[in-house]
């Protein structure tokens, strides 16, 4: 049908003008990660909980696992629709029923991760307010942030991205400054022992690795923009691998710098004694105002992290609504802002209910909300990534689709082995992560909860296969479900006006 023409294509030029390069994708993925929250809120806690100094090595191992995973993941993303959601990979790789199971786990884990951050946020805000001579309970501060995130969530995602980008740049600058200062004021020189494999053993290894994984969440974002990338084959892969590399550098450098500043022998005790160790060090080395700057930056960083997880949860719920796997109203957009408004509001309501419930029951925001919920969500997300890695292997086992052996067989298989090993260790050492005794009920409860969710999701998927085959056909296609489920049975329409 196409007509031969010698004229240059104006259409292709206009379409190419809006395509995204590696740096643009990197911007989106890095804004989905909030490194100061991970370092100030997570690394110091990891030193205290694990009682080990192998955290930089833990980040290195996880970065290597995720790099291996990314090779197959980004390759598969070129061949499927809705390539921004892990459950879509699972649906296309293993099957639609496991896909629905994964979607339920994913939505719950992302939502729980977002809600957990309100505990840290409320507590940090309470501390900052106290420095200013103001007295406000943690839950009041959390509710203010909740309202802000709820409002931003119903706006266009690009507005959020601009806010997140500015916060990220300031965050990275502060982290690098603090890390450089720590190395410049090292207690016993650069502690090379921290990178020794012997530092990552015992009961706490799994706990450290599970927490390390949560710091990288957001690395998967470039695939969301795959169709808008300049070169879908290279741009997305480069951006994903660069995200893992940049985050790994920041996490390893900053966690190593804390060990250098305090000393390998003292860092665990120091972290137990002072949860704000990173800012205390900055205050001692750079001057007291820098500790306050750090705490304020942590506040904005946690808010940005909560906004980022809010967007991800809303995106999952929206895609499920569009597929009609979840209620269809979740797939509604706001006409004015084109945001997934119904899904965003749903996530906001759920998080608001949890904050109010925690406040009403008088539960501890740090232990019962932040630690318990974020670590539990971390296990769920780790299981999700590991299952996605299996899906990549299965997908390419059927057909390599012209891709290389490394990208379709070797790297994905290595990623599966590595991630399942990390998941096994994490579940085994989960009691350390929660800070409870081995054999307690809670560490067993969380994996059971996620397994239960997966079973319920699978049962729902099986029902859809039997009772609603049109919906079943669209599972895993997200925004493009309409293209798959579009039926074609004319029943007669009067022609013309």
């Amino acid at each position: 049908m196409p007509a031969p023409s010698s004229r240059p294509s104006a259409v292709q030029a206009v379409l190419a003008r809006d395509k995204l390069g590696t740096l643009s994708l990197l911007h989106f993925s890095l804004t989905a990660a909030t490194p100061l929250t991970v370092i100030a809120g997570g690394v110091v806690v990891m030193f205290a909980l694990a009682g080990q100094i192998g955290i930089p090595l833990g980040y290195l191992i996880i970065a290597a696992c995720l790099w291996l995973f990314s090779v197959g993941y980004t390759t598969m993303s070129r061949h499927i629709t809705n390539a921004g959601a892990f459950y879509a990979f699972i649906a296309r790789g293993i099957g639609r029923i496991p896909g629905v199971a994964a979607a339920w786990v994913a939505a719950t884990a992302y939502c729980a991760m977002q809600i957990s951050l309100f505990g840290l946020l409320g507590l940090t805000a309470e501390g900052v307010m106290a420095r200013m001579g103001l007295d406000a309970p943690w839950w009041a501060c959390a509710l203010v942030a909740w309202l802000l995130i709820g409002l931003l969530g119903t706006r266009a995602v690009d507005i959020n991205a601009k806010v997140l980008a500015i916060l990220l740049l300031v965050e990275i600058a502060v982290i690098l400054l603090f890390s450089a200062s720590n190395f410049a004021n090292a207690a016993d020189g650069v502690p090379l022992a921290a990178m020794s494999p012997s530092t990552l053993g015992g009961e706490a290894a799994g706990a450290m690795l599970a927490l390390a994984v949560t710091g990288f969440i957001g690395f998967e974002s470039p695939t969301v923009y795959g169709e808008e990338a300049k070169d879908r084959r290279r741009t997305v892969a480069r951006a994903t691998l660069a995200t893992v590399g940049i985050l790994a550098f920041i996490y390893i450098a900053s966690s190593w710098s804390i060990i250098a500043a305090v000393g390998a022998d003292n860092v665990v005790e120091a972290a137990i004694a002072d949860p704000s160790l990173m800012f205390t060090l900055a205050g001692d080395q750079l001057g007291a105002p820098w500790a306050v700057i750090g705490e304020v930056m942590l506040l904005t960083s946690v808010t940005a992290a909560a906004l980022s997880f809010h967007n991800t949860t809303a995106r999952y719920l929206f895609a499920l609504g569009r597929e009609r796997v979840a209620p269809a109203w979740l797939g509604r957009t706001s006409p004015r802002t084109s945001s997934p408004a119904a899904a965003s509001l749903t996530q906001t309501v759920v998080s608001g209910v949890v904050i109010i419930a925690w406040a009403a029951l008088g539960l501890d925001p740090l232990v019962h909300l932040f630690f318990y919920m974020s670590t539990s969500a971390g296990i769920g997300l780790l299981a999700l990534i590991a299952t996605c890695a299996v899906a990549v292997v299965v997908y390419f086992a059927r057909d390599r689709r012209g891709e290389s052996l490394w990208a379709t067989r070797i790297a994905p298989v290595l990623a599966v082995v590595a991630l399942l090993w990390v998941l096994y260790l994490s579940v085994l050492h989960f009691h350390t992560l929660l800070g409870v005794e081995k054999g307690s009920t809670l560490p067993a409860l969380v994996p059971i909860l996620f397994a239960g969710l997966a079973v319920l999701g699978a049962a729902w998927g099986a029902y859809l296969k039997w009772g609603r085959p049109d919906v079943y056909a669209g599972i895993g296609h997200g925004a493009k479900a309409a293209l798959v489920t579009e039926a074609s049975e004319p029943v007669g329409v009067a022609g013309g006006r």
Binding site: S9, V491, A494
Partner: protein, 223 residues
């Protein structure tokens, strides 16, 4: 309210998507462009200047080989672009192109010439420069299109035009389902769904791509 004289799908789409009132918000600029683009494609499919051709799972837009130029300059502009392409592009690409090529302004200028819209110049408060906007010449006529669609839903008319069946589905696809079905029983959605299913396959394909593109904007933020 009396029906406005039937005009064109693109004009009706512009009035539905770009104008807001107390009952219905306007859609975002990009979604408005996509909606008008889908309507323009639908017009040309109905007039048999263009067709949608499914090839290896991709819906491609092709021009009819028995080419005869459309009489309308807006339609001619698009058909010339389709002809100029060495290979057929997907419906999604054409929707993206039409939105990026500001099909809204082109359509609005047409409507100005016909006296349906009025061109207004105003000074931007923030940028302090003259900007151009378009307003309906008659608010009642502008609102009549949406009212006509709601009347179809309220009476569940068994036989409506292809254009109105397309507009019903388009209104839902651009995210205006809530005002469209406001205070109607669930039967209204079933009715609209049946009208959509009854549309010719190429129009359904255009609508499905429109819905998918709008959903993608919700996920990616439209950057």
């Amino acid at each position: 309210m009396p029906d406005a004289p039937s005009t064109r799908l693109v004009y009706d789409t512009l009035l539905i998507t770009s104008l807001d009132d107390v009952y219905k918000p306007a859609t975002s600029t990009r979604v408005t462009g996509l909606g008008i683009g889908a309507a323009l494609l639908a017009e040309l499919v109905l007039s048999q200047h263009l067709t949608v051709w499914a090839n290896k799972g991709v819906d491609l837009l092709c021009f009819d080989e028995r080419f005869r130029p459309p009489s309308d300059s807006l339609a001619l502009w698009l058909v010339e672009h389709v002809r100029a392409e060495r290979t057929s592009l997907s419906v999604r690409d054409w929707l993206e192109f039409l939105s990026a090529a500001d099909v809204y302004t082109k359509t609005a200028e047409h409507m100005v010439m016909l006296g349906i819209m009025v061109r207004r110049e105003y000074r931007s408060r923030w940028r302090q420069r003259v900007e151009v906007g378009y307003e309906p010449a008659d608010a009642l006529i502008a609102n009549a299109v949406f009212s006509r669609l709601r009347r179809h839903l309220s009476t569940s008319e068994p036989s409506i035009s292809v254009e109105d069946a397309f507009l019903l589905a388009l209104t839902e696809a651009v995210g205006l389902a809530k005002p469209l079905y406001h205070q109607f029983p669930s039967g209204a959605r079933v009715y609209a769904g049946q009208r959509r299913q009854a549309l010719p396959a190429p129009l359904r394909a255009v609508l499905a791509h429109l819905a998918a593109t709008v959903a993608d904007i919700a996920i990616t933020g439209g950057r």
